[in-house]
């Protein structure tokens, strides 16, 4: 089967390490999304999988076979580039057919497969155009079509939607998901947009500073982040993180005291998702409103508290104004607790109702 396994991948540019020993397994038919801030090594890793970068050490296995030294064209993978990388001197048809022609696929097959892919992506009317004459979304679809016609066992995407406007991005996201369901192939997808990660992935891999932080189904990562970085990276707005200390049954930080259950002691990091906090008449947190974001029936309020900035949800009907001092309380037992350096999760709230 067409699974993918990475073993101890290391890669550096000159003296600068970019990927610091990554082990990762992707099951056949899976849609794995690699996320992380820019410079975290996710794109490099994707290029390593594609064969565009040589590794310093480690192994890339596909369907069980070691392909670390195999050149890209023999790996049977397809890749959609961030800039689409359409050949400007070829028409859409030529762009789609290029890979097949290089592989000496018979003419009739080429035509059939190009036609099929074009139909699937609604490109049939654009086949004789040059890329210059296409819109952003159309170019994006050609870039995908170029991979689809080749029917590789592994699809790679390098931030394919980042050059599109929001509406188009939502639409293309849907198409990608549909495509994955339809083709059932393994896909590895790099993005820095956590919404894409959450909506597309069967599993998400979060990277930071060249290290794989955590990998798992999207909701698993959301509810049970393995460390403070993952907790802060997934979810929007970001999780509030405060330094705190366990004192009896409570967590005490600058200007707050919060009752919290769990089996840990000493200095910790407290994580609270904004969605789990509400502006109310009382509560452990007090702060001055720095900004208000009204989304309709509710909204977010951004406070300056003694412990640092804090984001909380509020009921849209509340008259919250910038400059006001308000109180915030958690909606029940919602505290995530991490070790003081943020590297380990010590406690998560009960699974959501």
């Amino acid at each position: 089967m067409s699974g993918l396994r990475l073993v101890g991948i290391r890669k550096s540019y000159g003296d600068h390490p970019v990927v610091k020993g990554v082990d990762l397994e992707v099951a056949s038919g899976e849609f794995l999304v690699m996320v992380g801030p820019s410079g975290c090594g996710k794109t490099t890793l994707l290029r390593v999988i594609a064969g565009l970068e040589a590794v310093d050490s480690g192994q890339v296995l596909m369907s069980g076979a070691d392909v670390t030294q195999v050149p890209p064209r023999d790996r049977d993978v397809g890749m959609v580039f961030q800039s689409y990388a359409l050949y400007p001197h070829m028409t859409v048809r030529e762009n789609l057919a290029f890979g097949l022609e290089l592989r000496k696929v018979p003419r009739a097959d080429v035509d059939a497969r190009v036609a099929e892919a074009a139909a699937m992506l609604e490109l049939t009317n654009l086949l004789e155009r040059k890329p210059k004459a296409l819109s952003g979304g159309q170019r994006q679809r050609v870039a995908m079509g170029r991979v689809i016609v080749r029917r590789p066992r592994l699809f790679l995407f390098d931030e394919p939607l980042s050059n599109l406007d929001t509406a188009l991005r939502v639409q293309m996201r849907g198409e990608l998901a549909r495509l994955h369901r339809k083709l059932g192939v393994t896909m590895v997808y790099v993005t820095h947009d956590q919404v894409e990660a959450m909506t597309l992935a069967t599993r998400v891999a979060v990277f930071d500073k060249g290290v794989l932080q955590q990998v798992g189904p999207p909701l698993e990562l959301y509810h049970r982040p393995g460390n403070a970085f993952v907790a802060g990276f997934l979810g929007s707005p970001s999780m509030n993180l405060f330094d705190a200390r366990r004192e009896g049954t409570a967590l005490v930080g600058a200007g707050f005291r919060l009752e919290a259950a769990g089996d840990y002691a000493g200095d910790v990091k407290l994580g609270l998702r904004p969605q789990d906090l509400t502006v109310s008449a009382d509560g452990p947190f007090t702060g001055e409103v720095a900004a208000v974001e009204r989304l309709g029936f509710d909204g977010y309020v951004f406070l300056e508290t003694a412990a640092g900035p804090l984001t909380a949800r509020f009921d849209g009907s509340l008259p919250v104004e910038v400059g006001q001092t308000v109180r915030v309380r958690p909606n029940g037992d919602v505290a995530h607790v991490f070790s003081a350096d943020g590297a380990r999760a010590l406690r998560h709230p009960e699974a959501p109702r």
């Binding site: 550096s12 000159g14 003296d15 040589a54 310093d56």
Partner: protein, 726 residues
């Protein structure tokens, strides 16, 4: 591999079949060329020896001979004027003919001309000398003495009506030499050294200057002017050589007589006698055949052909018995003139006379120096041009190149070690350069080509800079060449010959040109920027025309346009009611002529580059500026120019390097006139190498200095402009 195969295939074509024909080189054109070819054909008919004739462009002949002959790649027989004989002898490339030559068959003076230290070289073919052409409609009796001559000149001259008694290319020392001898001066002292600062010299210069100031002859006479004045009957007399007979309009009645005698001294005006000889190469493949060919060309039928269609004055005495020659007045006249002439000395010293004398002569004629002071001027120039071989003894370490080579090797090793140390922590090679093998493979062919055909010759050139070259011998002199150049030994720093003066001229030349290229190019690009402009494509095509013309053609074309009497520029000035300018007699105008030519040929490049750079500036910047209320002028100053700078800088640097070394324009347009003042460093180096006794070492030192000036300059600009530059 591929091109090596092509190379081999092509060079195979160059290999001759088993019985290799004799090779004969000459620089004749027209009738003279026909004559030599027919003579050679006759030779082959008679002897069945095949001959390959090559007519070499005159400008290339000398450098071709001096490069080819020492390498044994030259001809078996070549035709050259006897003045260079001594040099050919020193290079050991000519075979003696003392035993074979039948002296009695030739005019004695022509044999005398071929004498080098008692040995004779070559077979005399023809002679060239100067005589007086007299328009018999204007002057009935040719003058016998200069007094008589002067009164005739007075009678026939009327400068107001542009009528002159005399016209000749007075600025050329070859034509002035008769006056030097006529006034009793000697060109060489008893030791054989050239002497300029003599009484006779001053008198001869004063005489000629007076001809001009009294309006007997026009100023700045060129060959073209002489011809047109004589043919239009506006010059009663002309001093010229045999070649002039072909230029005269058939309607003009004229006589040719020897030049008159100087009344004060009783000496005739004595022109030089140039003898063209068939010289046999010392490396001729079949010497006997080569001598047979050379001798054949000097006699009998070949001589007859030389007279007609060659229109040359034969050296063979028997030729003058031939009926067609007996009747030919011109030939008879030149023979008489030749009897009064002195063979141009074939000494090395003679070769050193031309440039100083040209300077003195033009200085006098243009009124910049008095006839009395001109000799001293020539003397100084002579001393500067003819550098003694720097002696090794008074310069430590200047006797052998080995200490230098050792020091150089040591320096290289030290440098390599330092570079290695500086590397820092070692990164495995394969990781540092993952594509090294492919990269090197792609670069290799070009790198080999550049290394072999550019770097090697240049390195050889650099090493020559440490040697003194004289007639084929190289002597190691250490840094002496550089010291002499940088201290401008032998002449003042402010004289045109000094390195510093030339450097200043070169910098001015480069700066002015590049500024004009950039200014005009950018200006036109701005005018052409608007894509909606009507006829834009037409303008663009027309404006790159100058770029498409090969630059030597451009140079000769503009040289013609700047002609004092017949040039279009002076024609335009005259049409505008302005005084015509004699472009090449003053530094400023001569420099300007060079600049105008170079600007014309160079602005399209900058225009095209600017157009491209302008297109790379996003249109919305202008819109933003427009919204901000910036005027067009402000937009140009604050947006266009700053954004163009990084895009144009590399082209400007390249343009500077090219202009700095723009040899063709300087050499062909002003030729360094006046007196070498407008020469730039490259053309100066060229003169040292090819026009001043092949001082290759000195020229190489010049080239090395040019190289370092440019290198330093580009380094400096890069530092000043930061990393955005190339």
């Amino acid at each position: 591999m591929r091109w090596l195969a092509v190379a081999l295939a092509l060079s195979a074509c160059a290999d001759a079949p088993a019985a290799r024909p004799l090779k004969l080189w000459h620089a004749y054109r027209g009738g003279e060329e026909q004559a030599i070819e027919r003579a050679v054909a006759r030779f082959t008919e008679e002897t069945h020896v095949a001959v390959e004739v090559l007519s070499v462009p005159y400008d290339a002949f000398s450098s071709k001979l001096t490069s080819a002959i020492p390498h044994g790649a030259g001809p078996d027989v070549f035709i050259f004027a006897h003045e260079r004989l001594r040099q050919f002898h020193r290079l050991k490339v000519v075979a003696p003919t003392t035993q074979r030559l039948e002296r009695a068959r030739y005019l004695p003076s022509t044999v005398e001309a071929l004498d080098v230290d008692g040995e004779l070289y070559g077979y005399p073919l023809s002679l060239k000398t100067l005589a007086l052409f007299v328009n018999t409609a204007l002057v009935t009796d040719p003058p016998e003495t200069t007094d008589q001559w002067l009164s005739q000149l007075e009678a026939t001259s009327d400068a107001e009506r542009a009528r002159f008694g005399l016209a000749y290319a007075a600025g050329d020392f070859y034509l002035h030499a008769p006056f030097v001898f006529g006034f009793g001066a000697r060109l060489f002292d008893d030791a054989g050294r050239a002497s300029f600062d003599t009484k006779g010299m001053a008198r001869s210069l004063a005489f000629v200057k007076a001809l001009q100031t009294r309006g007997f002859m026009p100023q700045e006479v060129s060959g073209a002017l002489v011809k047109s004045l004589f043919n239009e009957g506006r010059a009663a007399m002309v001093i010229s050589g045999p070649w002039f007979t072909g230029e005269i309009d058939p309607s003009v009645r004229y006589r040719i007589t020897p030049l008159p005698t100087v009344s004060e001294t009783g000496l005739p005006l004595t022109p030089f006698l140039g003898v063209e000889a068939a010289l046999v190469s010392s490396r001729a493949s079949r010497p006997d055949d080569a001598h047979r060919l050379a001798e054949f060309l000097s006699r009998g039928e070949a001589t007859a052909l030389r007279v007609n269609p060659g229109r040359q004055i034969p050296a063979e005495l028997a030729a003058y018995e031939r009926p067609e020659v007996v009747g030919d007045e011109a030939i008879a006249a030149f023979r008489r003139a030749a009897e009064r002439a002195v063979p141009t000395p074939n000494t090395l010293e003679m070769a050193k006379v031309w440039e100083p004398m040209k300077l003195a002569l033009r200085g006098v004629l243009q009124g910049e120096v008095s006839p009395e002071a001109a000799g001293a001027l020539a003397e100084r120039r002579y001393a500067a041009l003819n550098r003694e071989q720097p002696s090794g003894r008074d310069r430590p370490g200047a006797t052998s190149p080995w200490p230098w080579l050792v020091a150089l090797a040591g320096g290289l090793v030290a440098f390599a070690v330092r570079q290695w140390r500086r590397r820092g922590p070692p990164v495995p090679f394969a990781r540092r350069y993952p594509e090294a093998a492919r990269g090197l493979a792609y670069v290799a062919p070009a790198a080999v080509g550049i290394a072999v055909l550019i770097v090697v010759p240049f390195s050889v050139g650099i090493s020559l800079a440490f040697f003194h070259h004289e007639a084929g011998d190289y002597t190691f002199v250490g840094l002496a060449n550089f010291v002499d150049i940088l201290t401008s030994k032998g002449y003042r720093v402010t004289e045109p010959l000094s390195f510093w003066f030339t450097l200043a001229v070169t910098i001015a030349w480069t700066f002015v040109n590049v500024a004009l290229h950039l200014g005009i190019g950018l200006g036109l690009a701005l005018l052409l920027k608007d894509p909606l402009l009507k006829l834009r494509a037409v303008y663009r095509v027309v404006l790159i025309v100058p770029w498409a013309v090969p630059n030597y053609i451009t140079a000769l074309m503009w040289k013609g346009m700047f002609h004092r009497q017949f040039g279009a520029i002076n024609g335009l000035l005259a049409a505008l009611g302005l005084e015509p300018v004699s472009w090449f007699t003053h530094f400023s105008t001569s420099f300007a002529a060079n600049v105008i030519t170079n600007t014309w040929l160079g602005f399209p490049f900058m225009m095209v580059v600017s157009l491209g750079a302008l297109q790379s500036i996003p249109q919305d910047l202008y819109e933003a500026a427009e919204v901000d209320g910036a005027s067009k002028w402000t937009q140009l100053r604050r947006i266009t120019l700053p954004l163009l700078k990084p895009a144009l800088l590399p082209s400007v640097i390249l343009g500077c390097v090219w202009t700095f070394n723009m040899f063709n324009i300087i050499y062909l347009v002003s030729g360094g006139e006046p007196g070498g003042a407008t020469d730039i460093l490259v053309s100066e180096a060229y003169r040292w190498a090819f026009q001043r006794n092949e001082q290759y070492g000195f020229a190489a030192a010049y080239s090395v200095l040019i190289f370092f000036v440019l290198l330093g300059w580009t380094r400096l600009t890069r530092r000043l402009t930061g990393p955005e530059a190339a």
